[in-house]
Amino acid sequence: MSITLDSKIPSGPVPSKWSRYRQDMKLVNPANKRKFNVIVVGTGLAGASAAATLGELGYQVKAFCFQDSPRRAHSIAAQGGINAAKNYRNDGDSIYRLFYDTIKGGDFRAREANVHRLAEVSVNIIDQCVAQGVPFAREYSGLLDNRSFGGAQVSRTFYARGQTGQQLLIGAYQALERQIAAGTVEMHARTELLDIVLVDGHARGIITRNLVTGKIEAYAAAAVVLATGGYGNVFYLSTNAKGCNVTATWRAHKKGALFANPCYTQIHPTCIPVSGDHQSKLTLMSESLRNDGRVWVPKRLEDCGKPASSIAESDRDYYLERKYPSYGNLAPRDIASRAAKQVCDDGRGVGPGGRGVYLDFADSIRRLGENKIRERYGNLFDMYRQITGENAYQQPMRMYPAIHYTMGGLWVDYELMSNVPGLFVIGEANFSDHGANRLGASALMQGLADGYFVLPQTIGGYFAASKNGEVSVDRPEFRQAIEDVETRINKLLSINGKKTVTEFHRELGKLMWDDVGMARTKDSLQQALKRIPELRNEFWENVNVLGGGLELNQALEQAGRVADFLEFGELLAYDAMQREESCGGHFREEYQTEDGEALRNDGEYAFVSAWEHKGVDQFPVLHKEPLVYEEVKMAQRSYK
């Protein structure tokens, strides 16, 4: 298959591309929509909003998720808020400013046209959610409240206490349940996608496993939408929910869809550190804490084991304030994360294993009083105490960076369709809008923009133009795919080795974190590229998956996901190796400024890396989509 990357960006000035696109778009007449079946895999913010909206428009939708209900998708865990260019504060915000901040925040590695569209529809998202009954924070006037977030000088973040993701997802979930009741959406919960089926080069169906009965089933449709979230769990420990996986996008990749920018991974500086080998996930502590907390470690190695209170002021190194005097403790996420790693690498970390830094509120408590701090962050202090058993009003919190979000994903064009016709990808699963780094409160915005406002329009254009007739799951393509899935499951169940799936996952995660994590070098990446295939081979010889295929079998579910991570991790490392520059979440130690800032190379690397699969144990092929900036001038980000 020869691949040409056509981003299908409409012509004309950037700010008018989306309206022009909609004017020119072919439409499907209302009576005909009923004839089109759409499969939506994933019902987080992106998938639930898309499935509900497609159902409202009259399409016949089948939606899938692996949890027991769409309401439990990982989107539920988002805390801080959602951006929108409403300019309710009258503080100078505009669609253009949100567009510009997002492009700059992404370190000039995102597509202008997509980002501008995102900023345009951001305002509709808030209106839609309010109409659904999302209880956003309000002021005494009864109007919507805003807060500010990193990477912006305006207050444009809408929020619902520390549970914005939950409230937005419940809104989308309820819209989805309404369509289920109306009969336009058929929901399949506790069902996992295990393969994509192509007929004549078009995505025409999926193969799933019913997670309760174990039954392998085939579903056919006119198009397939993937909304299956990010791949942060390739690092084993992350702030993602335990079930987050790369399986759906990886299987699509193996069927021909290009995977873009896998090396763009975001690390959040303030997470509760690992407490032991048993650790199963990491918990994020909101970025807002750095407004009142001061970050430090002991100056001397020998002080690191001592209680914080016994270390004199003069023996403390407030390293962020020292290194970045103007930004101090509010240095951007990537900078703060790398600085924490550095002091811990020097042996000056605190807490178990020496992987932690202090976030100290003592000064603020002295200045503002404990009550004020409780008012601002009470729920976070409670959560911290629940997890660590420590009282952060009396002793500093311990923090360490953790994997949090993945900017990379399947390559999509302006219409959110991958290079495989009929295969659409939305939400965190695609690579589209965040470039090399995502700004806070922008993932929720993108998921809902894709699901409510973009995909339901663009997919109509595809249907209007395509001549696809109906396909039946009796076709050989479906039968072959079922057979492949069954063979793989039987293989997993018959290895009977000595190690558990979790042991492999943990080992892969450690390797990824050490060699392909916060700071990457050519050597570390070479090391990873050698060890990942070794670990993968060992997995297929020595993993132990008990039980049968035709039953509820959580070990088998996990084994399938880890097997995919063991292939995907290698691609991530290839991508990191290939990109000989530092940008956003991708930091190559060889490419930094004197102050340790990411050093981009716009001359050679202003492109999207889109990888083509050539087989496991084969080199993938790189396709490049050049990034052309018409509206914004590329510049080095500065935090000084």
């Binding site: 909206t53 027991d68 209900s69 539920i76 919960a189 058993g389 406002f453 132990n544």
Partner: protein, 249 residues
Amino acid sequence: MNLTLRVWRQKSSASAGQFVTYDAHDISPDMSFLEMIDVVNDRLIKKGEEQIAFDHDCREGICGMCSLVINGTPHGPLQTTTCQLHMRSFKDGETITIEPWRAGPFPVLRDLVVDRSAFDRIIQSGGYVSVSTGGAPDGNAIPVPKADADRAFDAATCIGCGACVAACKNASAMLFVSAKVSHLSLLPQGRVEEERRALQMVAKMDEEGFGNCTNTGSCEAACPKGISLDNIARMNRIYAKALIKNSVG
């Protein structure tokens, strides 16, 4: 710490279940309850025994997926979710009994995993505002008094875990249903349909086999999110009003 676990094992909804005793030695007090089970499971696999199945996902107390009855109490001794419970809440040498939610409308699928799809079906019966994408008025077009928005949020914070049902001797879902009815009724956007919503959701709840509310308050005590009994009172008012209107025609 060293603990003894009595765990409910049940191969499928069709088969009978029983308690099986496991030894959980060398457990760190810093582990979450689910991490403790992870450790026990890894050891079971090493011995060639199938792991204990249990539901979980976010492990942050927000998705509502985790669901264990620990020593007779849904989500265990603290008013939080099982995933946020840590082993330091238990004593060294203790025996801990772990069971699935026990309620007719939540059949056991395997071991500690139950089927809670009845909750989704109750939402389908009316737990939404009937608004389609597009055409919504400006977000600030309808001001909502802050106090109402805050109370709506308090009700909307329900995570749909089902602990209220598991705690209730009648397996009533009143706290869950009333939290949704309250959330939407407290906002002008949702008030328009409140009567129809209350009637339909209560009817669906009955149809799914959930029991009546006899005001024992054990649901509120078990709720990890502190959903208040006030919601039930509010829903009863709306429901009564709707019934009267309906009977008058």
